[in-house]
Amino acid sequence: MEPRSDTVQEDFNYDPDRNYDEVIMAQQRIIEKEIAESQPLISNLLTFDEIVEEYSDEDSVYRHKIEDLKGRYKNMRKTRGDGNCFFRAFGFSFLEKLLQDADGYKSFVDVVHKSKDMLISLGFPQFTLEDFYDTFVDIVKQVECPGTVEKLLETFNDQGLSDYFVVYLRLLVSGHLQANEESYIHFIDGERTVRQFCSQEVEPMGRESDHIHIVALTKALQVPICVEYMDREGLACNAFNFNPSDATDEADPKPTVTLLYRPGHYDILYPL
């Protein structure tokens, strides 16, 4: 397609009456739409042979690391790169695990039930909080009725339900950080309060997750998470375990959820 002459080929002249931010935001929406159309929120199970094709033959570091993963994991699922991938990957993978773990399910339901009043007591608006909570609980209940992986996959690929689930996980992390302010204040950059950090980096949709989000989610839900870091350093991926307990003399519990981190993005891993 020929580029339109009025947008691309003309020399750029700054027009002070034009709102360039609006133009940039419109462009941003188009990019988001393209991503939404080409990537499901949570993919089907993929093999590493399908993943390795993303990297060229010359990219020996990444190809090596995928071989390394193949020795420990059997499959993965990709998630959409929309800034919510950590929460969505965790949410799906965790509920999928609970399908096989009735005790784990029961204790998770307890944690969830207690969370609503805790969040309201922290000052979240009750009206919307209850709305997110109700949808979250409905999704969690799919695990016991009895749930199937197919049904969960369908739910997590339904943008409305899936996003509501992510919103509530974000609120749980925000609540945990605020309720334990003194433990986290020193890990927050830019001279912000914990409350400010939460309203800028945790609660808004599409904000990417960092180390601190994972630590808080692990502790808020009492769920151990393992993240395999895949970057350009070294030859193997580095596994990092996030544990609900602070005790250092205990052996790491077996992670309930394992995620693959490639710079800026989280996907789900399935151990052998």
Binding site: P125, L129, D131, V167, P204, M205, G206
Partner: protein, 167 residues
């Protein structure tokens, strides 16, 4: 399905607001068939220049609500540093994270999915009571507010009167 969630949340808010009114504003739909377009009347907060005014505004929700913020635009004529000449309300909570076109300081709170019609209106009322002249959307109004408060007062009093006449 995403649309269904948004409609559900908006219709529940409408019901709730009809049931028990909240001080400082009233809210309803512009057209009964469209949950995404609201008409709000903000009552000028007591003991401010805007006291006595009944300012009509439209609150337009995107399909992606509550993940993206609505836009608020006054239909009544307004004179305020944070309301532009077309009536658009420029407060930080109506801006998406990362959208920095009005150059707010980094600490300002942005749009969050937990916000409701009520929390938005409360923020707008507090904006009327307490303008933020560091990031004005109406530069002339901001300048007048700082440098010629008497004139500013007169302009606002005129809009207060006009808002009631036009209601």
């Amino acid at each position: 399905m995403a649309l269904e969630q948004a409609s559900l949340l908006l219709s529940r808010q409408l019901k709730e607001l009809n049931k028990s009114s909240v001080d400082g504003f009233s809210a309803g739909l512009i057209d009964d068939d469209d949950l995404f377009k609201w008409e709000i009347v903000i009552y000028g907060p007591p003991e401010t220049l805007y006291e006595g005014g009944m300012f009509k505004a439209h609150l337009i929700f995107p399909r992606e609500y509550p993940h993206r913020p609505p836009k608020m635009k006054f239909v009544s004529e307004m004179w305020h540093p944070n309301i532009d000449q077309e009536g658009n309300v420029c407060i930080s909570i109506l801006h998406e994270p990362g959208d920095d076109k009005y150059g707010y300081e980094k600490a300002a709170e942005r749009w969050l999915p937990v916000h409701t019609v009520e929390t938005i209106c409360i923020s707008v009322i507090s904006m009327l009571a307490d303008p933020n002249d560091e990031s004005p959307a109406n530069v002339d109004a901001a300048k007048m507010w700082r440098e010629n408060f008497e004139e500013f007062k007169k302009r606002v009093t005129r809009t207060v009167r006009k808002s009631i006449e036009e209601l």
